[in-house]
């Protein structure tokens, strides 16, 4: 057996201590997540069945479901992505490719500020600008509100990811006679794709959990959506409504809806990761 000097032994024990501490922290973090998921699952599984997933809400005692809320959330998410992600990416490209002039720094500062605006404020803003003008709530307004939350997040992560693309890659393309726009779109963006996707996922995850802005814009509905100009239901608002109700049956439905929401977010995550996997890295 090796005889360790005192210094060695003390170093080893400090190392072991730190390793155990970090392991402990990891377990705590992961553990909390598991606890939350299990708790939700436990509480929600009882109300979860096929009818629940496709039915519209009904008065207490008649069952009902979150079918329209699922569709509604999906539509709102889709709408916000269609508007928010391209605009966000374009912003990110602008910020990264056009260097450090005062205007660019100004834009960057504004975007950073936007990231920090409470979502309810965004909701109220869209309420004032769109809902009041249109004189009714709509899915359209809800989508815009969510998009406004998404844009700064996507823009900043896009910018950071593009900056991470090594300059040498750009030079290689330029040296072959590619004009700047081609280099950006054809070489830099694909190279930054997985990072940009991460940013998009972060943004999607963020807005899927938003309730407050939807209260002022999409408002909520008990029916399946027919067009984007009408109020629309969403999982988050539905969960809110059920949770603050005094009925146990609706509480159970709220848990089940929460479980469904978590499952949806997880699936989106997995699908996007798969689609943008870096084949060549």
């Amino acid at each position: 057996m090796k005889i360790l000097s005192r210094k060695d032994r003390s170093r080893r024990s400090v190392s072991a201590l730190m390793t155990s501490l970090t392991a402990l922290c990891t377990f705590v973090a992961v553990g909390i997540l598991i606890v939350i998921l299990s708790y939700i699952a436990m509480r929600g599984i009882s109300a979860l069945n096929l009818r629940f997933l496709v039915d519209t809400p009904r008065p207490v005692g008649e069952g009902g479901g979150i079918g329209n809320a699922i569709v509604g959330s999906g539509l709102l998410l889709l709408l916000s992505c269609v508007v928010g992600i391209p605009v966000g990416i374009a912003c990110g490209i602008y910020l990264s490719e056009f260097g450090g002039g005062w205007m660019v720094s100004g834009v960057r500062f504004l975007i950073d500020t936007l990231t920090g605006i409470p979502s309810i404020v965004t909701g109220v803003f869209v309420y004032a600008v769109i809902v009041l003008r249109m004189k009714h709530f709509s899915a359209f307004a809800g989508g815009i509100a969510l998009a406004l939350i998404m844009i700064p997040i996507v823009a900043r992560t896009t910018e950071e990811m593009i900056k991470l693309v090594p300059h040498s890659l750009r030079e290689g393309a330029l040296a072959l006679g590619a004009p700047q726009w081609r280099v950006t779109l054809g070489v830099v963006l694909p190279a930054a794709a997985s990072g940009i996707a991460t940013g998009a996922i972060l943004a999607i995850a963020r807005v899927s959990g938003e309730t407050a802005p939807l209260l002022f814009t999409a408002f909520g509905s008990r029916f399946f959506p027919r067009n984007l100009n009408e109020p629309i239901a969403s999982l988050t608002v539905q969960i809110y409504n059920y949770a603050i109700s005094p009925y146990d049956e609706w509480h159970a439905q709220a848990w089940a809806a929460t479980l469904v929401l978590m499952a949806l977010i997880l699936s989106i995550n997995i699908v996007v990761r798969f689609l943008t996997r870096q084949k060549f890295s």
Binding site: P166, S168, G172, R182, G186, F280
Partner: protein, 274 residues
């Protein structure tokens, strides 16, 4: 013989002793001055680079040889705050003239960089990139043919012909550099600029690249920047020695390494400074 003996004295007589092979001038540079903002990086460079030969640029770090190389295909344009004075003419046409087409220039003058920079795409797509964006081929088979030709010219075909669709980043360092050379060759430039192409490679990979360079000069004009003097000696027909932004001497490589004209050159080559 040079009139200057002091290290820091500004006046040098440049002697051009191009003697090997073709003497048709491919690139003519006249009194080139280059500025990074307020700093002058190149001072009064005048040189004639003949076609279908290899010219090596040597000199200590910071002497301006890479900066000068990059002025030849206007790669310094992408750096903010740079300014060029003087003339650079390729085949008689000035490349810094107002209205000169940079894209055309870069199709004619290709570049290989110090650290290989393949795109994160397949081997085939890397080589085909230049051909595709410049729309140089009209059919898939023509594209395939050009890619194969370029890979053969870069002595890489046999090693990758069975895995053209696999990632370029899976190749070894030396192979990646040869891939970058193939990528540059695919668009059939006339001049190839190489910035220390083998500095990141092991000796065997280096010697493969060096042999490739000697083969390529039959068809292309090659300018190579190297900090390795033995490499310049092995590979080039002509050598230009730069110091502190100035061109000190241009000579046939054989003369440069046995009996250079300028004392400064000799001091550098014999390792007295640098």
């Amino acid at each position: 013989m040079s009139a200057s003996t002091s290290f820091a004295a500004p006046k040098f007589e440049v002697k051009s002793h191009s003697s090997a092979g073709s003497t048709v001038t491919k690139i003519a540079v006249e009194d080139l001055n280059f500025f990074y903002g307020k700093t002058q990086a190149l001072k009064g460079i005048s040189i004639e680079i003949p076609e279908r030969q290899v010219m090596a640029f040597i000199g200590p770090s910071g002497c301006g040889k890479t900066t000068f190389l990059r002025t030849l295909n206007r790669m310094n344009d992408v750096i903010a705050g740079t300014r060029v004075e003087g003339k650079v003419a390729i085949d008689g046409a000035e490349i810094y003239a107002a209205g000169a087409d940079v894209v055309d220039l870069r199709k004619k003058v290709g570049m290989v960089f110090q650290k290989s920079n393949p795109f994160p795409k397949s081997i085939f797509d890397n080589v085909a990139y230049g051909l595709k964006i410049n729309r140089m081929t009209s059919s898939r088979s023509e594209l395939d043919g050009r890619v194969e030709e370029a890979l053969k010219d870069a002595a890489l075909w046999n090693e990758v012909k069975d895995r053209l669709k696999s990632s370029a980043l899976g190749l070894s360092g030396g192979q990646q550099q040869r891939l970058c050379i193939a990528r540059a060759l695919a668009i059939r430039p006339e001049v190839i600029l190489m910035d220390e192409p083998a500095s990141a490679l092991d000796p065997i990979a280096t010697s493969k690249i060096e042999e490739l360079i000697v083969d390529l000069k039959k068809q292309y004009t090659i300018v190579i920047v190297t900090h390795n003097m033995q490499q310049a000696a092995r590979v080039s027909d002509l050598t230009a020695f730069f110091l502190l932004g100035k061109l000190v001497e241009v000579n046939s490589t054989e003369k440069m390494f046995t009996a250079p004209t300028e004392k400064l050159t000799e001091d550098y080559i014999t390792g007295r400074f640098g």
